[in-house]
């Protein structure tokens, strides 16, 4: 048991003498984390709570659900801490846990078909030489308006869950494709395909909601 404000050593360590660097402030963060030092956990909760909450909402969960999810993520984080090898950042590890929780809640695993109808839509916009058949309408005129904000929320809602998650992690959290690949357990290439499809779907949807000037 540990409590906030009271440093506590794990039961396997009998005294601080077994951890020579313990009080010298030079131990690496991972070691401090492993010992479940309250100050370190505190810091991690502080640094990641809002971000995880925002991500859960960004994936379509209500405030109440996001609240639950965030707490569950940290509980699991603490339970699985010994498996954390420090190869990725703590935040990436936390997003990975969130991803699993989200999958569990959805029960049905998000389908990630090799084939997606949006691919054909994209294909149809180019001729045999790969040139645009017709120009896309310009999005500039209305994209900054309040109407645009409503439209993006609606259109994000309409994305398949995994597309929405990848889009959020790449665009809002601004994580690298490699990080997202770790989080969702797909290859970097697959992350790229999902990101591409998410953006095509979004564009079509926004186009239909007046993001481009009337033609």
């Amino acid at each position: 048991m540990w409590s906030v404000g009271t440093p506590l050593l794990p039961t396997t360590v009998r005294s601080a003498a077994e951890l020579p660097l313990y009080d010298m402030g030079v131990t690496d963060p991972l070691a401090r984390l492993r010992r479940r030092e309250p100050a370190t956990l505190h810091e991690i909760v502080h640094q990641n709570t809002r971000r995880l909450f925002r991500a859960a909402q960004g994936m379509g969960f209500s405030s109440a659900e996001a609240d639950d999810l965030v707490q569950d993520v940290f509980v699991t984080f603490l339970e699985t801490l010994d498996r954390f090898e420090g190869r990725s950042q703590v935040s990436t590890w936390l997003f990975g846990i969130l991803h699993h929780k989200v999958q569990e809640r959805r029960r049905s695993r998000a389908r990630d078909d090799l084939h997606d109808p949006v691919d054909e839509l994209f294909e149809s916009k180019f001729d045999a030489k790969g040139k645009w058949i017709a120009p896309l309408p310009s999005p500039d005129r209305v994209a900054s308006s309040a109407q645009a904000a409503g439209a993006i929320a609606d259109c994000l809602q309409g994305l398949p869950p995994l597309h929405r998650e990848v889009f959020h992690l790449r665009e809002v959290e601004e994580l690298s494709a490699a990080d997202v690949s770790n989080i969702i357990g797909r290859t970097v290439t697959h992350v790229g395909v999902l990101f591409h499809r998410a953006r095509l779907r979004l564009r079509e949807c926004l186009d239909g909601k007046g993001w481009s000037p009337p033609r």
Partner: protein
């Protein structure tokens, strides 16, 4: 010479950042000459801007006591 389709795909998969320098330069050159791909790029950028704005608008919605409640739960889970 890269086609519009290749350039657009490279941009929307987010693979441009990791592409070899030669490819990145080819894309930049293509964009200088191609309005259509530039418009597509503009779409991608504006969708990102709008999604970030929409998400940050909810930034303060995380309940103020969520951190404290989470820490209490962690304490309990360690009992």
């Amino acid at each position: 010479m890269m086609s519009c389709k290749q350039v657009s795909t490279l941009m929307s998969t987010g693979g441009l950042a990791d592409a070899p320098l030669r490819q990145r330069l080819a894309v930049r050159l293509h964009l200088m000459m191609c309005d259509k791909c530039s418009t597509f790029k503009r779409w991608l950028e504006l969708m990102g801007v709008a999604a970030r704005a929409e998400s940050h608008a909810h930034e303060d919605e995380a309940p103020a006591d969520l951190e404290a409640r989470t820490l209490r739960r962690l304490e309990r889970s360690q009992l």
